[in-house]
């Protein structure tokens, strides 16, 4: 029978790296807390390995912590592997104690040993193992050190049948507390015999500690309230603190015996934080790094984008040059595949480049610092800094970013963050920015224009969060605790995996939803009402195609913005997925008799013909890009908001407010940019 192993630990101790090393999976890893917000399952031989979100205790405050706690308590894993941070052993041991109380066999992994060494920390691993009554394996998971030993011990635990719960050493408290625990256990046994029979001692301790979750669980039984009353009667009121105090005393004793730290050791992280977390320079440096990120993305990917463009626009069409022009297959290959689909694929190098830079920053530990800096600003505005961590995940895709809000304890903060996250520009919007960014102020400033759009997204998200917190979701914000790990030189392996993991989603989407939408758009473009006969026919002039019909149907909505029906098509189909905006343009371009470059074609056709002065076009283009930034990210995002908020109302608000906001801002930009004069 297959055994299960749960990986648990404090946030940012390397659980997911360890999970990946054990199972060969490629779970998202980053050098900041809160990356894992749901459980992930992998296999190590016939052992099922479950990676759980980071927790500090087993009394959950946020949804992700609840996931971890419920799994450990209710799903009954055969073995728990608790990952400890060697640089911060004292705090990590608190969770270790709580896990031991559960009575499930535990193995401890002492990770980040390299960082501990740098900090001149010495740990007596053997003695620690004796005192904890369980194996302790030192590792540097990110470099694969100690993984083999850990694997061997886990396997031997399963093979030698050391998983019996009776073999687990119990942690005992003072006789006074033990007496109360015994009485509470008896009360549970006599009144609620079916409630966690294998964890009765643990449940009794939790009830003594006034744990809300366990109390909620006993209320679901008849007699639950009676049990609570009976336990209350044996308590004096200080037991919750006494238990914590005794745990910390025991931890203190263990630390005294096993942990030595040289005083006055300064690491490179301490030094770098003096400048990167400086209250005056922190945010300007963050902006500089963001600017650099988009410049690098745009510049470094340019040759590859040119190359892929050449492949789809020049080389591949040579293959179909022998096919009859009026054949539907020729049209499908040239227009749908090379034109529409190829336009999206052309931006794959760009997307990968951005994810590479982003992964580098994330793995180095800098993004956690960026969140810390932004928290200072956000806290002054009465917002929760954790929101910014979720926002930064939105640079990749807004959907996991919305899901990551589970780590936010305060419900008002969580809902606010979910609703404003869509303003953070995801990777799917990047191709549109690159396609048109050079037409705002010229090619040299494309990187800066892209940066301005991302920065605008962050500013709008913060302002909206302020609005939601002050007007809609009123109430105090909870304090934000963000653990800053050491800076690390990102490894090629994990940065590569990280980039691939995010970029893969783009390719997957291209092969599924985007391809399907392109085929539908191609059909709509291929059929149309012949102006001479009034009959629906194949291969009519693109101006009279059904696709043009869709564009012309929606165009009046955008008439005040002076956008053409071609611009409207991009927006309408972009609701399905933002990549489709570029695909739609690519498809229409192939219907042109003398096609120019894609960017030039879109620029030439973005405005209603003759309605906008050429000199005002930069403003019109920028307004269009701002609308693309702000309106609904995609259909899947609406679904994610609905799932996470459990409310149709908030899903609708999320789907619509961006349209209004984007429209108003595009109008203002048009006004300032002289579009109407």
């Amino acid at each position: 029978m297959s055994k299960s192993l749960a990986l648990i630990g404090n946030p940012n101790v390397g659980k997911t790296v360890f999970f990946n090393e054990l199972t060969g999976e490629t779970g998202h890893v980053a050098n900041w807390p809160g990356v894992t917000v749901e459980k992930k399952i992998g296999k190590m031989g016939n052992i099922e390995v479950i990676d759980l979100p980071g927790v500090y205790s087993l009394s959950p405050a946020a949804i992700d912590e609840m996931i971890a706690r419920n799994f450990i308590v209710n799903e009954k894993p055969d073995l728990i592997v608790d990952i400890l941070d060697a640089t911060n052993l004292e705090r990590n041991l608190y969770l270790a104690f709580l896990l031991k109380e559960l009575g499930i066999p535990v193995i401890f992994i002492l990770n980040l040993m390299d960082a501990a060494e740098k900090r001149k920390i010495k740990i007596d691993v053997e003695r620690l193992s004796q005192l904890l009554g369980a194996p302790v394996i030192p590792t540097v998971a990110i470099k694969g050190k100690g993984i083999k030993e850990a694997r061997n011990i886990i396997e031997s635990y399963v093979k030698d049948n050391k998983l019996a719960r009776s073999s687990v050493e119990i942690i005992y408290y003072s006789s006074e507390l033990e007496e109360k625990i015994k009485k509470a256990t008896e009360i549970l046994e006599n009144n609620l015999p079916k409630f966690l029979p294998d964890k009765r001692r643990w449940a009794a301790i939790k009830l003594i500690e006034n744990d809300k979750e366990v109390k909620k669980e006993i209320y679901s039984f008849d007699g639950g309230i009676v049990v609570e009353e009976k336990i209350k009667r044996i308590l004096t009121g200080t037991e919750e603190f006494d238990l914590a105090g005794e745990r910390y005393n025991k931890i203190g004793e263990i630390i005294k015996e096993t942990y030595k730290r040289e005083k006055g050791v300064v690491t490179s992280s301490d030094i770098l934080d003096r400048v990167f977390l400086n209250k005056y320079f922190g945010i300007p440096i963050f902006l500089l790094i963001m600017w650099g990120m988009f410049e690098i993305t745009f510049r470094a990917s340019a040759p590859l984008v040119t190359l892929v463009g050449l492949i789809f626009e020049e080389w591949l069409p040579l293959l179909t040059s022998g096919l009859p022009e009026d054949l539907w297959l020729t049209s499908f290959i040239n227009e749908a595949i090379f034109g529409g689909f190829g336009a999206v694929l052309g931006f794959v190098p760009l997307i990968f480049m951005m994810f590479l830079v982003l992964s580098f920053l994330e793995d180095s530990g800098y993004l956690a610092r960026a969140a810390f800096n932004m928290d200072r600003l956000m806290f002054k505005l009465g917002l929760h800094g954790r929101s910014f961590v979720s926002m930064m995940l939105g640079f990749g895709c807004n959907i996991p970013a919305v899901m990551s809000c589970r780590a936010i304890e305060n419900e008002q903060d969580r809902l606010t963050t979910i609703l404003v996250n869509q303003n953070i520009s995801c990777g799917a919007r990047l191709p549109v920015y690159v396609l048109l960014g050079g037409y705002v102020l010229g090619n040299a400033s494309t990187g800066t224009i892209i940066f301005s759009l991302y920065a605008l997204g962050i500013v709008i998200a913060i302002l909206l969060a302020l609005f939601f917190r002050k007007v809609v979701f009123k109430g105090e914000s909870s304090p934000f605790i963000l653990e800053l790990g050491d800076y690390r030189m990102p490894t090629a392996k994990y940065t590569g995996i990280h980039m691939w993991e995010r970029g893969r989603e783009f390719i997957k989407k291209a092969g599924t939803i985007i391809f399907a939408v392109v085929v539908i758009m191609w059909l709509l473009q291929s059929f149309g009402v012949d102006p001479n006969t009034g009959i629906l026919a194949w291969g009519v002039d693109p101006e009279y195609s059904l696709l043009a019909g869709v564009g012309k149907f929606f165009q009046p909505l955008f008439a005040p913005l002076k956008w053409s029906w071609i611009a409207a098509i991009g927006i309408v189909f972009g609701f399905l997925a933002k990549e489709v905006v570029v695909a739609a343009f690519g498809l229409i371009l192939t219907g042109e008799e003398e096609p120019a470059g894609l960017g030039q074609f879109v620029f030439d056709n973005l405005a209603v013909p003759g309605a906008v002065a050429v000199a005002a076009m930069p403003a019109l283009v920028y307004g269009y890009l701002v609308f693309v930034l702000l309106y609904t990210p995609c259909v899947a995002h609406i679904g994610a908001v609905y799932k996470e908020t459990g409310s149709k109302k908030w899903a609708l608000v999320s789907a619509t407010y961006g349209i209004g906001l984007g429209y108003i801002l595009a109008l203002i930009i048009n006004l300032i940019g002289g579009v109407y004069f």
């Binding site: 300064v266 490179s268 301490d270 030094i271 770098l272 934080d273 003096r274 400048v275 990167f276 400086n278 005056y280 320079f281 300007p284 440096i285 500089l288 790094i289 600017w291 650099g292 410049e295 690098i296 510049r299 470094a300 990917s301 340019a302 040759p303 040119t306 190359l307 050449l310 037409y439 102020l441 010229g442 090619n443 040299a444 400033s445 800066t448 224009i449 940066f451 002065a613 050429v614 000199a615 076009m617 930069p618 002289g674």
Partner: protein, 160 residues
């Protein structure tokens, strides 16, 4: 003790020199900002060519150099006192310089490939490209990396 103070002084002089150097680069970038271009944009009329401006590009580069200069200069008095923050500012500014250098290097290599892909054969463009752009890249990367290396090697002298 005196030797350490002397080394701290040399660190602070280095920081001062770099700060001033970046300040000069920043001023040069500010001077090159084509201020007239927004005016041309405002007074342009229908039918004019599309506005192609390096305004933002120069402004961004000027601000970046200014930021690095300020970080260096801000660190000078703290370096003299031998504080940890002072050392952090020295290293941090160096890393930013390397970052900018890397950016220029990537831009340089990318342009090089792009020129080759486009089959550009004009030798004057290549010369200008290799000499001016290439030198700029090397200066940033070179200064940044040598500087960081020296600082890190001598950190014990500073932090003692």
């Amino acid at each position: 003790m005196e030797i350490i103070e002397l080394k701290r002084s040399s660190f602070s002089i280095t920081a001062l020199l770099f700060g001033v150097a970046f300040l000069i680069v920043s001023i040069v970038e500010f001077i090159h900002i084509p201020l007239e271009e927004p005016l041309i944009f405002l007074f342009s009329s229908p039918g004019d060519a599309v506005w192609e401006s390096s305004f933002l590009d120069h402004l961004a580069k000027a601000l970046i150099n200014l930021l690095i200069a300020v970080i260096f200069l801000y660190g000078v008095p703290q370096i003299k006192q031998g504080t940890l923050s002072g050392f952090g500012f020295l290293i941090g500014a160096g890393i930013l310089a390397i970052g900018i250098g890397t950016l220029f290097a990537i831009e340089w290599i990318a342009n090089l490939i792009d020129f080759a892909l486009q089959g550009l054969v004009d030798i004057t463009v290549w010369e200008d490209f290799i000499f001016t752009e290439g030198i700029r890249t090397e200066i940033f990367l070179g200064i940044g990396s040598i500087y960081i290396m020296l600082l890190w090697k001598n950190r014990d002298n500073y932090l003692e």
